[in-house]
């Protein structure tokens, strides 16, 4: 556990020192959402209708943005080999790095989301559910993304490839995330959606470290 936290701490420190990652993700998120009124027009009713979906799609893309580099730096400078060789199981390494990534890029999205909901005239009923679904859903995005980042390590044009691999797998998160908010706005219970989203998280928690570790072992071989 200590080793796990050491690794999380080191990744957080790295992210904070080289800056940009967190701010870029959240800026991209905001910009992406702001583009929609320009595209579909400023009609408040239309914006309110699409707000949940737009915010979720933007969150999806924003979390994808920095994923490419999740293992890339460690892979290039040789740290990854050494991480594979530490007594900490590789699955725990994947989990620790994913956790650090989520803390740096996922949490700012959750904070920024209500602000964007205001910009899009989302009904107030949806705000709490929006934050809740993002809190449960963005870790799933980071976990699934970690698999993709490990798989594309050392690939040509890894970033584009990563989106191609990962976006189809993100669809269930998008459906249940946006579905919960829509349900809340329509006065229905968002509970089933949120439970399913939690189910995805429960499934991704063991799957992603396993698959990520398998992919990383091949990457350093």
């Amino acid at each position: 556990m200590n080793r796990f936290l050491t690794l999380v701490g080191r990744d957080l420190r790295l992210a904070l020192r080289q800056g940009s990652d967190a701010t870029i993700a959240v800026m991209f998120f905001v910009l992406c959402v702001v583009l929609f009124p320009f595209g579909v027009g400023p009609e408040p009713n239309i914006l309110a209708r699409i707000a949940a979906g737009v915010i979720w799609v933007a969150a999806l893309l924003a979390s994808l943005l920095s994923l490419e580099r999740l293992f890339q730096n460690d892979y290039e400078d040789g740290s990854l080999e050494l991480l594979v060789l530490t007594p900490l199981p590789l699955e725990a390494v994947v989990l620790a790095k994913t956790l650090a990534h989520w803390l740096v890029t996922g949490v700012p999205l959750i904070v920024a989301a209500p602000l964007l909901a205001v910009l899009l005239n989302m009904e107030a009923d949806g705000f709490g559910v929006l934050v809740l679904t993002l809190a449960v859903g963005t870790p799933v995005l980071s976990l699934i993304g970690a698999i993709g980042a490990a798989l594309t390590l050392g690939a040509r044009r890894g970033g584009v490839l990563l989106s191609l691999l990962i976006l189809p797998l993100y669809i269930p998160v998008l459906i249940f995330g946006a579905g919960a908010i829509d349900a809340a706005i329509l006065g229905l219970s968002p509970r089933p959606h949120i439970l399913l989203l939690s189910g995805l998280l429960a499934g991704a928690l063991p799957l992603a470290p396993w698959a990520g570790a398998a992919a990383l072992r091949q990457a350093v071989e």
Binding site: T6, L14, Q18, L83, T86, P87, V220
Partner: protein
């Protein structure tokens, strides 16, 4: 008295047979020097020893217990130094080192890190971020890593690259000290490094087309789809 040994190791990269039928044995306090031209599999052998690469065939054993049965334990007792220095540009030398020391299980990582840097003759870089270090300093930092957390087995892949003569002397002394304390060392190198009493292993002896490897094509030769030529 631990013994680290490999028997009948075969390394296959893609379809290419790098080496086959390789045996080695390193006892407590002993050193093994890997020699051979580029591509003869020195790095591959070290990576197999470290557990980064799986041998296609053969067995690695620590005191007669197969390494494959408990890979986590093996990783705890080996230090591997590869071609890349794994220095993070935004972390200071001490932070870089303390991180690896902590992962290796050192009780007071910061202190160990500073002591290791001093031992390698670069105490003055302790507070310097990695991006300002020269190639030689980065290499020393990487080598300091093996001192920061104790482990009985050192696997050093061309450790002398980028080091000056004085630093190589320091490394020789450190290795001698490690062996005196019962540690084992496996080193691959192109340059001269003084390892008194070290066994040597010439990897080109084990490549399939090597001069000593004239054994029969084997019973499966008849399965060869391209017929043998006159």
């Amino acid at each position: 008295m631990p013994v680290f040994a490999g028997t009948d190791l075969t390394c296959l990269r893609g379809d290419r047979l790098v080496f086959t039928g390789l045996d080695f044995r390193v006892g407590s306090g002993e050193a093994l020097l890997l020699l051979g031209p580029n591509g003869s599999g020195k790095s591959s052998l070290l990576r197999i020893m470290a557990g980064l690469l799986r041998p296609f065939r053969g067995r690695l054993a620590w005191d007669d217990a197969a390494v494959a049965d408990d890979p986590d334990r093996h990783r705890g007792r080996a230090h591997y130094v590869g071609h890349l220095d794994a220095v993070k540009p935004v972390l200071t030398a001490t932070e870089n080192l303390a991180f690896w020391a902590a992962l290796g299980g050192a009780p007071v990582p910061e202190e160990r890190a500073r002591a290791a840097l001093a031992r390698l003759g670069v105490p003055h870089i302790a507070g310097v971020p990695g991006r300002y270090l020269s190639a030689g300093q980065k290499r020393r930092l990487n080598l300091a890593r093996i001192l920061a957390a104790p482990a009985p087995l050192w696997l050093l892949d061309e450790p002398t690259v980028a080091l000056d003569r004085a630093a190589i002397g320091l490394l020789e002394a450190i290795i001698a000290e490690h062996r005196a304390g019962g540690g084992m060392v496996v080193v691959s190198t192109h340059t001269d490094i003084a390892l008194p009493g070290a066994a040597t292993l010439h990897l080109d002896d084990f490549t399939p087309a090597g001069p000593d490897d004239g054994d029969d094509p084997g019973d499966d030769a008849g399965d060869d789809d391209e017929d043998t030529r006159p």
